[in-house]
Amino acid sequence: MEGVIGQGLEADFGLRRGDSFRIDLSLSIPAGTTTALLGPNGAGKSTAVAAIAGLLAIDSGRIGLAGSTLDDPSADVFVPPEARRIGVVFQDYLLFPHMTVLENVAFGLRSRGVSRVEAMDRAGSWLERLDLTTLERSKPPQLSGGQAQRVALARALVIDPDLLLLDEPLSALDVTTRVELRRVLARHLEDFPGPRLVITHDPTEAFLLADEVHIIENGAVTQAGSPDEIRLRPRTFYAADLAGSNLLIGRASDGQVQVGSHLIHLPEEHIHGEVLLTIRPSAISLHRGPPEGSPRNTWQTTIVVMEPLGERTRIRTGAPIPLTVEVTTEASRALELGEGEEVWVAIKATEIGVEFGGVYTRSR
């Protein structure tokens, strides 16, 4: 376990909680990259946060950050939470209700022995970066969910941490705020030089924010890979369900979206700007020849993978736009579909879900 890589997070640990629950996790996050830990409620995500933040001691394994060991029971090393340099944005944010916004953000600096004047100054400049200056004197109960989220982000970043750890950063927000704040979050994740870990149960969040997604189920990682790998080749039922919806990102104008080399037609003409398209696999039909009739979105492609799931069959298609398609097994037999076969895809414009509001596309 010697030789930690650079400035990243190296975590490989086991932790028991109670008699029946145990998590085993192995994460390696290089500096400058974002990993998402994606899993259903009760999968052990919060336990993982607590272990990395030092709020729970691990039973076995090791957690290392930026070249030093934070927790290693076999070597009798345990760095307490207050001595770890980890910026945590907690679920529900946990802003201190009795302090002003400015005092909340300055808290980490004051606790680390920075003088009052300098702490207030540095906290103030972070609030400015996050467009929160006017709320400096407000108390957290007066803030909207979106404002609270940004304050929590400022409070985590101001201490100049070695790791940025976000626990369900967007789940407390309503849908419209979520889209906007995902963009804010993506920008600050990008700016943060160290490793970043996002804990979430929301696949959209994970796929859009992270370079690497780890799926966690019942305390163990069941699949890890890039968002595309997980989407296209899910290996567990949970991952398959997550991958269920096709996710396309593009820029709309006059109701049309350019995705790669292909133009997708949306249900309404007046849609403009950044959009996130979702298409249910069962809303896509496959044909042996060019489809006739109403669907305006059709193209020719190849079947890459076929997975029979009882009465339904899940099919993954290739270029120009890789999609997950679900057809009845009966229909698949009738069409004599098979891997490597040429097919035509057809999607009705009305079956395409459109989410507005500037989806942030990461530069890879």
């Binding site: 207050e82 907690f90 209700p97 201490i159």
Partner: protein
């Protein structure tokens, strides 16, 4: 229902003689003693009671139900019994009192410190119970958040835990002080009734009722005014949040 007794008291106040009565040394001695001992008792309750409340709320140790029972016992026990128990324990021949006397020459019964001990014994449970309940209701994740921001245990307690339970803490302090200020049974049993040393306001009222009604009424008026002032002032300032 709540007002009638006070009206009765006001009706009996000998207003013209009041300044002279209040200036009498029985009254001034008792008032001074009551204020000093009740505040001392509150202070001791803070120093001993808050850590005790924290232990009961946060630590899982064997015998915790028993400790909780013992802490709350003075709430239900007749104060006279409490005072008697203190006497048996801390008296000149008591289990603790005898060694204490030999070692330090300190005798608690029938001394001002005895009044403080009796007051603390009776009043501290109010603080322990309110603070313990508040600590249990506090979302401990806030303390974790503070720790992750670099705050050590002491800073977390001082800047997060205590301020967050602030309203309950103040409520507990006020109840504790008020209970100590009005303490009678345990004080008279354990500390006796010596003017200027152990005769607090309630004791002075009790004595005066037998001999000098006007002084008794004046003393009662002082108690009502002091208590009411403190309760109203603090309620306005702190309990709004509740």
């Amino acid at each position: 229902m709540f007002v009638v007794p006070f009206l009765g008291l006001l009706a009996r106040v000998p207003w013209s003689d009041l300044p002279a009565l209040l200036a009498g040394d029985v009254v001034t001695d008792a008032l001074r003693l009551s204020l000093v001992t009740s505040l001392m008792a509150t202070l001791i309750a803070v120093v001993v009671g808050i850590p005790l409340a924290w232990m009961m709320a946060r630590l899982d140790f064997p015998g915790r139900p028993l400790v909780r029972g013992l802490v709350t016992l003075p709430l239900v026990l007749p104060p006279v019994v409490g005072g008697a128990a203190l006497l048996f324990a801390l008296g000149r021949r008591g289990v603790v009192g005898a060694p204490l006397d030999q070692a330090t020459g300190l005798l608690l019964p029938f001394s001002t410190w005895g009044v403080v001990v009796a007051n603390t014994f009776v009043a501290m449970p109010f603080l322990v119970i309110t603070v313990e309940a508040a600590l249990r209701n506090l979302d401990q994740r806030y303390e974790g958040a503070a720790a992750s921001l670099g705050a050590g245990r002491w800073t977390v307690l001082r800047r997060v835990t205590l301020p967050m339970i602030g309203p309950s803490l103040v409520a507990g302090l006020v109840l504790t002080w008020a209970r100590a200020f009005g303490e009678f049974g345990a004080t008279i049993t354990f500390a006796g009734n010596l003017q200027g040393r152990t005769q607090t306001l309630p004791l002075a009222v009790f004595v005066a009722l037998e001999s000098d009604r006007d002084t008794a009424v004046a003393l009662s008026l002082v108690m009502v005014v002091v208590s009411l002032t403190v309760l109203v002032a603090l309620r306005e300032r702190w309990w709004k949040a509740l």
